[in-house]
Symmetry: C2
Subunit: 487 residues, 2 copies
């Protein structure tokens, strides 16, 4: 008992053995060990430690402003006006920025960004989102009541998954996600204790989605869980493909037939670069398929202020639209989001500007178009550059970056390197060597999922063109040396 | 099979019967049915529908700016400068605001609020938080590495609870919360499937905390779950009490003896009004108790930008400090928060200003002190006014509002009214009648928990003094009529 008392008083209440086991299963490679090491290396460099490189170049995360992308002037003017309304008397601010700021402030309690909004989001912002969706989708109606503003898209996705999870054992909810996937999905499913049901994108066909593979996946899943939702990321993260209209129609038919709740992650909807590719929203295609589908298929679609030409990740703005959701469930959703009070109001204001930007004839219109076009055309160039350079490297093969902000090339890793990795994922070993030798920070494909025996990395196309060229050259040189060393 | 097929195609995938059962158990009264009805009434009034009142007065939520409280000028100047750095060239902004803005922007990727921060929060902000805590606690050391910036305090609280939950059946994690409580706690515990373990505050002793009641509660809980954490709200929400130093010491001793992880919700740390009352942080008291406690007791403390003299709820800024957390658990915590990328960066910037406000000698100092003092003294007056007026009403008895922003008076509800409520909570019935007859929106005590057979409501002291007087008079008149009607 004496020793017992000692043990008892020394051990922590909360230890790795007594903490929530589902949290332990969570993994998130985009900010995993490679990135932690990159931060350490930056610190060492700043302390004067000698390295084989002069700077760390981070291409691990879709963080546009951190890579030098400039914010849209109009958006930031309105945010400044909303933050400090004294500026409404400042004649240097354009009138359209002031009128937007006034409208936003009038929708805020006490005319202040510092008030809580309704938990579903500011009503006028939801109205603007609904009108934006109607314009985007060629007039398909959208009700503001079906819009929920969120803390970035991640928040909406996790909330929807949370609603869907139930059952135990063989009836536990399964959620179908693409492989490769964005690891928010696997992390959320692990935390919720849902069953992750993988379907594989077809790398040989430019990461397209085959319905036969969806069928294989759901059939197999039915033997051990209850698949209830199908998640699609379009344009694709980490794979950069843009789905064809036909493919979306097929997916919707499949979801209807198999009775799956559709979740469409469409945060890269303005990031489409390749000739012949176009963004089609799931909502629009659904409604074009007629009432048999449009009045039955349950769909949640997600958007955000963090990507596209805005790249305003730090504001954590976003929205989701829900379609054909059962009314009782919707009431539960509204209740659930009320516990967290509201999404950040500056992010809601920013979301409003994204869906309601300067219009022709307004003083800020020309500059807005100029800035947006410049950002998107530079991204398109960098998408092409990335594909071209990587495909010149023997042992690297990469699909076109049709959209989004990432390339996910396949890399050959020699057998000897796989052994040397010594239990570590071989592409983790590869990326860690790359980081230590060149200062380039990428994320191993294993963090996103890939077919067994294949290896990839994800890199963003966001570094400024000159740095992106350096990065691509260094990857080329490194891959060559790495292959030689282990051959 | 024909009918079966029809059923199958008509039923939704996600229904109230097939959704996550833990979500259904969540309740959050602060934005519950009373508040929904208040919003409807406001709409009806604006449409010209006749009501027995001209306006709805909301005293249901601690939303200071919505009630007319003005933001601190300096904070908003810095936020405007950070949002639109062109303003750094504007000579009308004071130099100290500019230097704060520059420092914040230098800590942001690409010098932009639009970049993701580290998931734990911007490093320089965490350093400023640590220095603030050291000043507040008379020099007790604080490591920036123990600070996690959060999306409001709610986010930190839910994250900590999430880490703590494990086990099944009789070994399931129990979490001790005060009754009355702030319903974020019960909502989070319901969602996480943890066991809510109630301990009752002593209304007769000004809502103080008795250790004997903690003991009763934990002993009883041990018969059916594994109590592992003890949550304290100080100053109290909804009850407005301020804990004595002695009481905090006793709680810490109790937590050590019973091996409970301490969670201290200290978001009202600057809201202390009553003579003889003073805020003592759990951290400071813990360290004053010597290494036997300070090196062993696990503590998480929460703060936010939403309350005190700032009232900046919409920005969703906050932090938590963790003390004596196991290193492996801390690594898991860091991983967990990385999935959501980062707290909103404008909220982080605002948190930085709260912990590092203008200093003596800086150009904004005098005005900052003037604004802060004005806000806090008006709150102190309203705290007193609320207590005084309510205690003149026969059938209402209210403790002094020593701190925070709420009064939680006990109300007599006649037996006949209890019957008339017809299964509804009697204080819900009371508050709904109050709303319909007077336009005043309060939250029934049943939404926070109370001793069986007692009834209360929570009201904020935030309405402007003239409106608060109207509100109190109307409550007085209503209570009188209500009592007569049902006697």
């Amino acid at each position: 008992p004496a020793l017992g008392a000692l043990d008892r008083s020394q051990a922590k209440v909360l230890t790795i053995d007594t903490m929530n086991p589902t949290v332990k299963k969570v993994e998130y490679a985009v900010r995993g060990p490679i990135v932690q090491r990159a931060v350490e290396l930056e610190r060492e460099l700043s302390q004067g430690v000698k390295k084989p490189f002069a700077e760390v170049i981070k291409a691990n995360i879709g963080d546009a402003h951190a890579m030098g992308q400039q914010p849209i002037t109009f958006f930031r003017q309105v945010l400044a006006l909303c933050s400090y309304p004294e500026l409404l008397n400042d004649s240097t601010f354009p009138e359209d920025a002031k009128s937007r700021a006034r409208r936003i402030l009038q929708s805020c309690g006490g005319n202040s960004l510092g008030s809580y909004s309704a938990s579903q989001g500011i009503e006028s912002v939801r109205q603007d989102v609904a009108r934006y969706i109607e314009r985007r989708d060629g007039g398909v109606p959208c009700a503001p009541d079906n819009i929920y503003l969120t803390t970035g898209a991640s928040d909406g996705i996790v909330t929807m998954l949370k609603l869907l999870v139930c059952g135990e054992g063989a009836t536990r909810t399964g959620v179908m996600i693409s492989i490769p996937q964005y690891p928010l999905y696997s992390a959320a499913l692990a935390e919720l204790g849902a069953v992750q049901v993988n379907y594989y994108l077809n790398e040989e066909k430019c990461w397209s989605l085959d319905i036969s593979e969806l069928q294989r996946s759901v059939d197999e899943a039915r033997t051990h869980c209850n698949p209830r939702a199908l998640c699609i990321i379009n344009p694709g993260n980490p794979t950069g493909q843009v789905q064809s209209r036909q493919c979306i129609e097929d997916v919707i038919r499949f979801a209807a037939k198999e009775r799956l709740f559709l979740m469409a992650d469409e945060v890269y909807q303005d990031n489409v670069y390749a000739d012949g590719c176009q963004f089609h929203s799931f909502k629009k295609v659904l409604f074009e398929m007629g009432p048999e589908y449009s009045s039955t298929v349950e769909l949640a679609s997600f958007h955000s202020t963090s990507k596209c030409y805005m790249g305003e990740c730090g504001f954590r703005g976003g929205y989701m639209e829900i379609i054909n959701m059962d009314n009782e469930v919707k009431a539960q959703l509204t209740k659930l989001v009320s516990v967290r009070l509201c999404p950040p109001v500056p992010g809601q204001a920013l979301m409003d500007l994204v869906v309601n930007p300067p219009q022709p004839g307004e003083p800020s219109y020309d500059n807005f178009i100029k800035e947006r076009t410049a950002t998107l055309s530079v991204l398109a160039e960098k998408a092409k550059l990335t594909e071209q350079v990587l495909n010149t490297v023997e042992g690297i093969r990469c699909n076109p970056v049709q959209g989004a902000m990432y390339s996910f090339p396949r890399i050959s890793i020699p057998e000897k390197a796989v052994k040397e990795a010594n239990g570590q994922q071989p592409d983790m070993f590869y990326c860690m060597r790359l980081l230590e030798e060149t200062g380039i920070c990428l994320v191993p494909g294993s963090g996103f999922g890939q077919k067994d025996g294949t290896y990839h990395f994800r890199m963003t196309i966001l570094p400024p063109t000159d740095k992106l060229k350096i990065l691509l050259d260094k990857v080329k040189e490194f891959h060559h040396k790495f292959t030689q060393k282990y051959s």
